[in-house]
Symmetry: C2
DNA sequence: TAATGTAATGTTATAATGTAACATTATTTG
DNA sequence: CAAATAATGTTACATTATAACATTACATTA
């Protein structure tokens, strides 16, 4: 996938912490890494160079990255790496809530709100790959209520939406 | 508890067609296949022996099946098959809306309501693999509204919930 | 600080999932 | 029937992910 350059997210919200969801994450890289560092310290987890590099690469990418794309980037930057290395780092980063995995296309992206537990909705543009993370209580409440009604104990819910982002609609939608 | 439905003893929900969402699909196999057959005829699509076998196997499984599990079942039943064969059949069945694919665990399951276009919510038990397909307008309306607000043109939404089904909660949850 | 235990990473090999490309067979249509 | 199209067979390979074990880094404490 992926050719045209993505637009940036334009979602307004007010979360704790120093990361803004309005500004693209790669423009706040230092801040994002510092926050991860602080959270690890607080949680007595080790934010090693490897983990930091992986998070940094994901953070700098305009689109979510696959594990092997990540591996290639690591090699380019001089660090030899094999699949288990990157998968382990990804596991850690997911556990800490710093990245999410998109099951619909096997990619990973930085989480805009690593401070708190949350569930998110992802809007994945099938044209350019740009992915927005939305936080919406309403949807998860509805899912939770529906699950409970079915006697099901919800542990994790994943909502992934495929379609066209605003930018790509303009580019491809005019002819129709 | 299921509300008593008006008329036709075998149909216990309000959907068009002859398939009940209350009764397990494998207990209505013949009917399910007949319906798929009828829909294909109507749509001028070919419901070949291969496609029928794949749908039948999926339908008979209590849990969603992976493509390679399906392949094994086909081999057991005497038909030699290679991956592209089963993937092509799955593609067709998905296009016709007879099966869904679960991205969260790369499996396929029969659709309880192949008659109409719909979006579904899947409750996947991480213990036993049993998966329920729910239809809930509310959730999809909420997702759609949220996407629209973000200027995103929704084409497909996938909602997959992981947790414990009622049965497995009893088995594993007693100590708590 | 040396000894020890644990966590993290390196390394090799392989499993699991999915597709490209082209050959062959079956079905439909002129 | 011939020709076109659709479906399936077949080979090879791409992509995604993990198992198993070796090594290194870090932390603890005697």
């Amino acid at each position: 996938m992926v050719k045209p350059q993505p637009k940036t997210a334009t979602i307004e919200c007010r979360h704790a912490g120093s990361i803004s969801c309005v500004k693209p994450l790669h423009q706040q890289l230092t801040r994002f890494l510092a926050q991860a560092d602080a959270l690890c310290l607080q949680r007595k987890q080790r934010f090693t160079a490897l983990r930091k590099q992986v998070l940094s690469l994901i953070c700098q990418s305009p689109q979510p990255l696959g594990a092997y794309a990540l591996l290639d980037l690591m090699k380019e930057s001089g660090r030899s790496a094999a699949p288990p290395t990157v998968y382990r780092a990804l596991d850690f980063l997911q556990q800490q809530g710093f990245v999410h995995r998109l099951a619909s296309n096997n990619t990973y992206l930085a989480c805009a709100h690593p401070q708190q537990q949350h569930e998110a909705v992802f809007l994945v543009c099938k044209q350019c790959g740009f992915t927005q993370e939305l936080h919406t209580d309403g949807i998860y409440k509805a899912v939770g209520a529906r699950a409970e009604k079915a006697g099901f104990k919800l542990e994790h819910a994943s909502v992934e939406v495929s379609g066209l982002c605003a930018g790509c609609q303009q580019k491809t939608g005019v002819s129709q």
